[in-house]
Symmetry: C3
Subunit: 215 residues, 3 copies
């Protein structure tokens, strides 16, 4: 008989590691577009794959970031850089797989980040914030290093919004005492919204039109 | 009878929170100028209102940043983002109020940051540095995220200089054993210099003209 | 009779401090090119001279960064800013001296960073990463603040590669129980490769040409 909590944890672990590899590869692809050398590939792969978790753990201050203590993370990030450096990735199916991994990673990382914040006795709002940072922080910093306004700030398809949704779902289930169900629900809802938004080009409005008389 | 130290602490607390709300609103206004969506508003509001304190606490390593543990901070930062998103702020008086709050926040945050550094047994120079980072660090990072060279680096009206003054004042009074008077004096001197410099367009020189024979 | 380990440690200390002063001066020179004011000079000097170590210590989470607790560091960084502000540095020999100090600093900082990571019980890969961050992290952040893609990401002459070499050398000797020899070897190999690469314009390739059939 399988313990369902353990199964969820195993799934989260696999998605987490696949997310690191996938996002590191995406970081390497960004490095190729910017015509960087191998150092640039590795730096952007590490930022993309591990940056969000490093920012989260640095803010939480509960010890050295897991990105540095868990040996799999850095190895997978460097592997992603190497793949993107050696293989010129441009196939349609490869991109579909990377998009799927990325969407799953958004949900997974948001769930892990929010849960970690709750375990550190933070409130629900900081927990949502750290969930979102875990999910999108690495890409945000990668964008800045490439001199782009972070894409999550506007114009993209509900990417950070999916992370907000997954974090909120995680916080609610966690407060109800159901962290394992919460992880699964956060993963699925985050990934689902991310994929649907990309498919149907849902974006957030950039402003609402209420004008105040100027004083 | 009122305890003057407590009064000063109450004032500092009120100015601190008003500064978070005011600077978060300014961050939201910057997000509107850059045509960002709601995620961008919230990110820039958090960076502007809480970024300096988060950098300070992350460097000090005395536990999770107060921006995450004190529930008022994040709520006020998100409120500032919401205000800037819903209301198109452009009235003259609104800007005057925001400028005043911002000036008071520079003095207040510098005082708080310097004092925290001294309490962590750092020397006067790191204390001044952390006071300045608390006061101007958030805006500096916000500028970088919007692809601008931080305005405090040059061309502005003694903004960081006001933070330096307030931090130095705080350190001096603190070393004299008068932290409450120091807080009040730092707040007033920082805000005063900031407002005077803005009024009379005082800026720092960008270079001095001493030439060395080339070797 | 002199203890060789102590001699190595003394050399490392001297090179470390010279590196802070030299890189802070280089940061100030960058501030002058960007026509920044004194605040910009000091900020870029601190980032260039101390940024890498601050990122390393913030990630390691073993207490407040030494950049803030060791009084010499900040004083030397501010001194470098002041030198660059007052003196218009452009002599050929001055640049040669700064280049030499910078090359030595790359080797020295990589050795110190890698060693600190090993002492914090991290594995060899995170140790290499933190060695590299110590050596090149400050310049990387300085570039971003000046709105440049970090030069270490591509087109430069094996700068980060020299840091990788020095970190790897340090890790190998440290694992062999020879940290003092490792420090000396890392310093010399890092500085040597950096100077040779600059002299003969060695750079890394930006891509390899293996194409995959698109799927």
């Amino acid at each position: 008989m399988t313990d369902p909590t353990e199964t969820v944890n195993d799934v989260i672990r696999v998605v987490d590691l696949a997310g690191v590899l996938g996002n590191a590869t995406l970081g390497g692809i960004a490095a190729r577009s910017a015509k960087l050398d191998l150092v640039g590939f590795v730096c952007l792969a590490i930022l993309s794959g591990l940056g969000g978790g490093m920012i989260r753990d640095t803010l939480l201050q509960r010890g050295t970031p897991v990105a540095l203590t868990d040996p799999y993370y850095l190895i997978l990030a460097v592997t992603g850089a190497a793949i993107a450096f050696v293989v010129h990735i441009r196939g349609r199916w490869t991109h579909r797989v990377l998009t799927l991994i990325d969407a799953l990673a958004v949900g997974c990382w948001a769930a892990v980040g929010a849960q970690k914040a709750l375990e550190a006795d933070l409130g629900w709002l900081p927990a949502v914030m750290l969930g979102v940072i875990t999910a999108v922080g690495g890409g945000m910093v990668r964008d800045v290093f490439l001199l782009r306004v972070p894409s999550i700030f506007g114009g993209n398809t509900l990417y950070a919004t999916s992370a907000v949704l997954a974090s909120v779902v995680m916080v609610i289930f966690s407060e109800l005492g159901l962290p394992a169900i919460g992880s699964a629900a956060a993963l699925l809802s985050g990934a689902g919204l991310s994929l649907l938004a990309r498919r149907y080009r849902w974006i957030l409005p950039t402003e609402v039109r209420i004008r105040r008389p100027s004083g």
